[in-house]
């Protein structure tokens, strides 16, 4: 194999990441985990989910860009991976929008919240 080393095209494309960078990311991730567990002790009301998701997303971005070296990757790979989240977003948003909307609409969802609007006999 070593016979083929050298500067030929199509060889030597490895891009090792520096170890301190990897370790640094790991430390930050751990700290963020501690943070997210810690903040759960405070009742932030409806902001809670937002805070939690922001922390999770920061962690995800770190894992994605450094551990998965997306930050140094070919644009096509990045487009595909990030594109998938666009479609996940569409999927969840539309479905959730419908399910929330239909509650206020003419179809109360009766799974639990029974709105047995009785008619007059």
């Amino acid at each position: 194999m070593s016979a083929h080393e050298g500067s030929r095209e199509g060889y030597d494309f490895a891009h090792p990441l520096p170890l301190p960078l990897l370790f640094g990311v790991f430390v930050v991730l751990t700290l963020l985990t501690v943070l997210t567990v810690f903040q759960a002790n405070f009742d932030l009301g409806s902001y809670d989910i937002i805070v939690v998701m922001i922390i999770a997303t920061i962690k995800a971005v770190l894992v994605g860009s450094i551990f998965m070296h997306l930050a140094f990757d070919k644009p096509m790979n990045v487009i595909w991976f990030l594109g998938s989240f666009v479609f996940v977003g569409l999927f969840i948003m539309f479905t959730l929008f419908d399910n929330r909307a239909s509650q206020g609409d003419d179809i109360p969802v009766t799974n639990d919240a029974v709105m047995a609007a009785p008619a007059e006999g």
């Binding site: 609409d105 179809i107 109360p108 009766t110 799974n111 008619a119 006999g121």
Partner: protein, 387 residues
């Protein structure tokens, strides 16, 4: 300009009576809306279609060449013309969308004070709830008055579809589903009462159920509109049909309801009691074959000694049964929750008498016979209507 379209198209939609029409009779306020939009889209589509087909076959004939000849032109694009045919038709789409959405919002906006009916869809039949515990498979409404249907399903998804009204709505179990319409064309009474009696007698002889399709009028002699289940629901999905009768006035309708809320003098109390059992929802909590549902089974109930939740026991005689119907919480059978609503004021004395007679008949040897009839009535709503 947009507002002129409906008027222009409605002219076309006027021929709906003819045999060659694309649509069933137009019988609700939605029908005309839906039909002119349909015709509008069809006309637009036809214009495009005819142009495309002329081009398609025209080119195929005109530029047909023997093998080996070169094409006259190798033009590979013309951005202007491509943009024109990409963007141009979009305006027509916007018009279609606009009127479609407008029509749809009418479907969804239920007017205040609409006449309220309950619809219970089950495999495979319909129970239309007219209040006062009158439940009948046929849907009877009043012309010119908005009617609101509150629909539920016991088992799987059904869909209530009245082609003549151009309305359709799925009935999803676990949800209340609403629909409304305003019927415009009242049904006609096309059979006299004597004819109906003869037919009913004939059916009783042959043990046949009322054949709506062949007779084209209901057991009450009205012409009708079809009502289908449009969402696949199993074996007898295609038989899950009933009819819509449009009465001219509210009084007509109430008279019809009243007719079905008391026992005809010719009928035995026990058999009428069975109908009440079917129609008034007793069967959703009380079985007649001994199965334990929400409430105690009626099989072998009458005359037996019953343990109560309080630890005492009572003989299920007529008095106990009557009390349990009118004041269900007075004596609770052991092992059951006090959940039954009172039927005080909802059943006439005769109704109660009929029900008790029916319960008694279930205690005797004839119980199995009662079961069979009940099963039939469940499977074939048409039959129940015929009775």
């Amino acid at each position: 300009m947009l507002n002129m379209i409906p008027a222009a198209i409605t002219l076309l939609a006027d021929q709906t009576e003819s045999k060659l029409s694309l649509f069933p009779k137009s019988a609700s306020t939605f029908s005309s809306d839906s039909d002119w939009i349909f015709h509008f889209i069809t006309i637009v589509a036809l214009i495009f279609f005819i142009a495309i087909v002329i081009a398609l076959f025209g080119f195929a004939l005109k530029y047909k060449k023997a093998k080996g000849q070169q094409a006259e032109s190798q033009t590979d694009h013309n951005t202007t013309i491509e943009l024109v045919w990409s963007i141009g038709p979009s305006f027509l789409l916007i018009v279609m969308f606009y009127f479609g959405a407008q029509g749809f919002l009418n479907h969804r906006t239920i007017p205040e004070g609409a006449y309220d009916l309950g619809v219970d869809a089950y495999k495979w039949g319909w129970g239309i709830n007219y209040g006062k515990f009158v439940i009948h498979p046929e849907l009877h409404v009043v012309a010119g008055e908005p009617t609101k249907l509150t629909m539920t399903s016991k088992d799987v998804i059904h869909s209530l579809y009245i082609p003549a009204f151009r309305v359709k709505k799925d009935i999803v179990p676990g949800r209340f589903n609403y629909m409304w319409f305003k019927a415009t064309e009242p049904s006609e009474k096309i059979a006299t009462d004597e004819e109906l009696e003869q037919l009913a007698a004939k059916d009783a002889e042959t043990n046949a159920s009322w054949d709506y399709d062949a007779r084209q009028f209901t057991p009450d002699g009205y012409s009708f509109y079809d009502l289908y289940c449009a969402e696949y629901c199993g074996t007898n999905h295609s038989q899950m049909q009933t009819v819509v009768v449009v009465h001219e006035t509210r009084e007509d309708l109430e008279a019809w309801i009243k007719k079905y809320s008391s026992r005809p003098s010719t009928e035995s109390p026990a058999s009428y009691g069975e109908k009440l059992y079917q129609r008034r929802g007793c069967k959703s909590c009380h079985s007649i074959d001994g199965t334990k549902l929400v409430g105690p089974s009626w099989k072998d109930l009458a005359g037996k000694s019953r343990p109560l939740a309080s630890g005492e026991s009572v003989t299920a005689d007529e008095n106990y049964l009557r009390e349990s119907i009118l004041n269900p919480k007075a004596k609770i059978a052991a092992g059951f929750q006090p959940v039954m609503p009172s039927y005080k004021g909802q059943l006439t004395d005769d109704d109660i008498y009929s029900l008790i007679e029916y319960i008694k008949s279930l205690g005797e040897a004839g119980a199995s016979g009662g079961e069979t009839t009940a099963a039939e009535g469940e499977g074939q709503p048409a039959e129940a209507a015929a009775e």
